[in-house]
Subunit: 128 residues, 2 copies
DNA sequence: TTGACAGGTAAGCAATCGCTTACGTATTAT
DNA sequence: ATAATACGTAAGCGATTGCTTACCTGTCAA
């Protein structure tokens, strides 16, 4: 197959990717308590301040934080709205684990379950 | 600062990272309709089957899918339970966008908001 | 004005990612 | 037996990530 085209331009970070990193999730958690300057945030991590700055940039590109300059510090605040996309996506699957025996999961796999049983008895599968 | 230690051993994929990739999210979506063999899944994407196999491996390591062999095909099925971790994390922030003027967000940033106003009037900030 | 502080940014580097092609291994069809 | 199918896996690749150190600018304090 022809090689996949490389992404060009500045990497527009999407929300799912942004929260894929545990450090950034912790940053979101910390900012959930309220606006905070970079140094205060960085103090909570075992890495350098520039590293945190870079994580904050990713969060910013994902629309998850905004900055405001106060004196010589920059205070970041959480913009949780983009998380809604994640929430909406994942909330759909809630039904897959909350319900019991009559779950949608089981309903959907009903046929598959029957096939599995037959497997146990060495029944032939219909040709794939 | 001393360089961060490289992660050793096989990369145990965590759920957040697993769903950080759009291809893997689509795989989850497809599997949400029910158990499916690899070829059927791969047919929906503009990439080779091995690429899909590798994505499925990541999902498997994250506990998001299970496999079952049927004849010569392997049928993957969704195991949505680990998504609960994502759901729980993100659900906390729902309040930040659902409520109106009296949101927790505003409550937490109440002080910050006042400072901002003062900024408008060129008032000095208390020393950071 | 000089220095200390807050923090962004660039460069560099090893590790990881996401993809490809090539190949190996079961299983089914002929 | 032989070929075809379904799939995994390894190797190789360029791009990206996550960190570091080094350096820069802007603001406050002395």
């Amino acid at each position: 197959m022809t090689p996949a085209k490389p992404r060009l331009g500045p990497p527009r970070h999407d929300v799912f990717q942004a929260i894929g990193d545990p450090t950034r999730r912790r940053l979101v958690d910390l900012l959930g308590r309220g606006e905070q300057p970079v140094n205060r945030l960085a103090g909570r991590f075992a890495m350098t301040r520039p590293a945190i700055s870079q994580h904050l940039r990713v969060l910013h590109q994902a629309g998850l934080v905004s900055v405001r300059r106060v004196g010589r510090e920059r205070r970041y605040r959480l913009r949780a709205r983009p998380l809604r996309e994640v929430y909406d996506w994942v909330a759909y699957y809630e039904r897959f684990w909350t319900r019991g025996l009559k779950s949608l999961r089981e309903f959907l796999d009903h046929e598959a379950e029957r096939e599995k049983k037959h497997d146990t008895f060495k029944r032939r599968e219909p040709k794939p």
